[in-house]
Symmetry: C2
Subunit: 401 residues, 2 copies
């Protein structure tokens, strides 16, 4: 039939029974006539256990040695999964990142894949073997082991699918696909058959946490068709691709993000370059600023209000207070009682009235909007955290029914 | 000063405090002006834990995947030890077996080292780094990871010392060196300053269990000077080398081996080729026959009596009973109440009277000798197991005082 890359995360291979569950999924895909390349992460808590071992030795271990250490996690997984496949009578072989030809740059613990030398992989496929590849890892030009950082196994899978021109890249997770809202919070949320890369990127950054953003960007760049699918119930999941059929559905999803803090800097002098100073200062510390609001100020001052991830709020406030003299601002305030609720859908750019439908739904619930941000395929509002779940339900009802 | 290879076993790096203990030994050797290459095994029970994981998946996992799995154990150790060295301010880098250039044959789980490509190693040494190498592992011609089998890390260390022309190879263990007898059993046993390779080989095969035989053979072949030394109390240990100074000491050690069974085949026809048939049959099953006694038989029969390791006795008896018709023998008997007590010393070949001194010591204790075997540097006797400890003391008193 075709060539399919299947990626399984750490929870999917955490113990004997889950490993055999994965092996059966792979075996069925193989028996249906497909060539299969499998990418796996480290088992369950292995990576955390290894990090704990390193922490016992050093509070600041070298990045190169951390990668040497952590890459063993995936190596254990690939060996065990390959044994399970062989136990099911499937011809299979495991390959580490370097055996699979992953060439990366030098950036230990957060390396970027530069290319994949697929020679070994293709020769194993030609021998009718399922190839089980260690995700998250590669080799740099000095022949040293590197790891790709958080979400790295998704990236490994997509990069492999691109390099091998695979027909599909299936990302197996604990959810059955991408939903119009978080199904644990909103039972009437429905699973999407298809979603575009751009929509998926917006949803991921809004806290949908289904796919790692870097892997979606890579899939978009190389046109790799993704499928998000459950490893426990492998019915068809959600396809992520360039363009989706118009299904009369303007909005693909409603997402809530509580990892948000609103920072206000009062009385910033209203002269050119002040905003630049503030935001470049935060960028240098790798703090991501999201929605920005600039008040028309009193006299020659203005108030700068913006959101940052809640987890970065404390750092941001420290940086701003330490450098107050550089932008001449007044008091720095931080509020953490907010949430961001967003709708995403490529369809909205050609349809008017989407924003007003959203705002009407919130108004009907008496929910106050503090900040608004719009892009071509997304509208986000900052509201009180206490209102967030009610807001998701009301918006979902208004658009998706 | 020179280049020293230091090998540490799994117990020596089993936890944080033991890892730092090793790091301090290495750091001191480095600070004394030596270049140091360190070879480490997997931590404590790691290898057993990994074997248990594989056993959960398959009762007969593939050898290639076992090596993929087990090699992670040493990779974890080298990363942690390198972090500890760096924590002590020592410039260090870890290298896996394949990074260190270990090229082996294809025999997974029991591979032989074919050569070591020392280019990377030498360039790291030239950068004034301590190089921490994963023992027990290498890479075969297909670029697949292999392991060297039991005692493999000792072999890795000796092979590295040979390839790098190191000045010494130190094997750190839980004992302080090689003793004239087991010091746990015989407190007056003394530590030897020096011992020859041949003496060490005889002692190792007699159950002294200090050094792996393959590594001693390799050291002898390439003239690598070994030192057996304690990682907990690193005072000078025992040097193992080609020739030792004559210190007036004929006998280097007295060893007891209880892993011995005596097998008797009664009434074997006294025609040519019968012994050959019996022993080739056992050799085919990899059963090591040690001492052989052939009685002058009654009529046209003889009795064949020989020793095998206790652990292989059951297999040996089965093989013999199944093939009785091939050598026309009678009853096969096995006795397990014996022990082998041996004296080893290169000096004895040029001195008469060694055997009679030994036999006299046993006679004075009323100990009955069942079988005797002699070589140029060894005399072994088979006696009742109950007499063994008394025999060791008596012989030790007679030769070493």
């Amino acid at each position: 039939m075709g060539l399919i890359v299947q990626k399984f995360g750490g929870t999917s291979v955490k113990d004997r029974s889950r490993i055999f569950n994965v092996a059966r999924i792979v075996a069925n895909t193989r028996k249906a006539g497909n060539d299969v390349v499998v990418v796996v992460s480290a088992q369950g808590d292995t990576t955390d256990d290894l990090i704990a071992k390193a922490a016992e030795i050093s509070s600041n271990p070298s990045d190169r040695e951390m990668d040497m250490l952590l890459s063993t996690g995936e190596q254990i997984s690939i060996a065990l999964l390959t044994m399970a496949l062989q136990e099911l009578g499937i011809s299979a072989i495991s390959l580490t990142g370097w055996q699979a030809g992953f060439a990366t740059n030098r950036a230990y613990t957060k390396a970027r894949i530069k290319r994949i030398n697929t020679e070994r992989l293709e020769s194993e496929l030609a021998r009718n073997r399922v190839v089980v590849v260690a995700g998250f890892q590669g080799l740099n030009r000095s022949d040293d082991i590197t790891t790709l950082g958080r979400g790295g196994s998704d990236t490994s899978a997509v990069a492999l699918a691109a390099a091998l021109h695979a027909d599909r890249c299936q990302i197996f997770t604990d959810v059955e696909g991408v939903y119009t809202a978080d199904p644990r919070k909103l039972p009437k949320a429905t699973k999407l058959k298809e979603i575009t890369f751009d929509e998926m990127l917006e949803l991921a950054s809004l806290g949908a946490q289904v796919l790692n953003n870097r892997s979606v960007e890579l899939a978009k760049k190389y046109g790799v068709e993704l499928e998000v699918i459950s490893s426990l119930n492998p019915v068809p999941g959600t396809i992520v691709k360039e363009e989706t059929k118009v299904e009369g559905m303007l909005i693909k999803g409603v997402a809530k993000d509580e990892n948000v803090a609103v920072i206000s800097i009062m009385e910033v002098p209203d002269v050119p370059g002040m905003s630049f100073k503030v935001f470049s200062m935060l960028a240098q510390r790798n703090i991501n600023v999201d929605i920005i609001l600039q008040s028309s100020g009193r006299e020659n001052n203005k108030d700068l209000i913006f959101t940052v991830p809640l987890t970065e709020a404390q750092t941001a406030v420290s940086v701003l207070n330490e450098n107050k003299n550089r932008f001449g601002g007044g008091e720095v305030q931080v509020s953490t009682d907010y949430a961001k609720v967003s709708i995403v859908g490529a369809g909205m750019q050609s349809h008017s009235g989407v924003a007003s439908t959203m705002f009407e739904a919130l108004f009907n619930q008496g929910i106050n909007i503090h900040m608004i941000s719009t892009s071509e395929i997304k509208i986000s509002v900052i509201i009180d955290k206490a209102d967030a779940d009610r807001a998701v339900t009301a918006i979902h009802d208004a658009f998706i029914h």
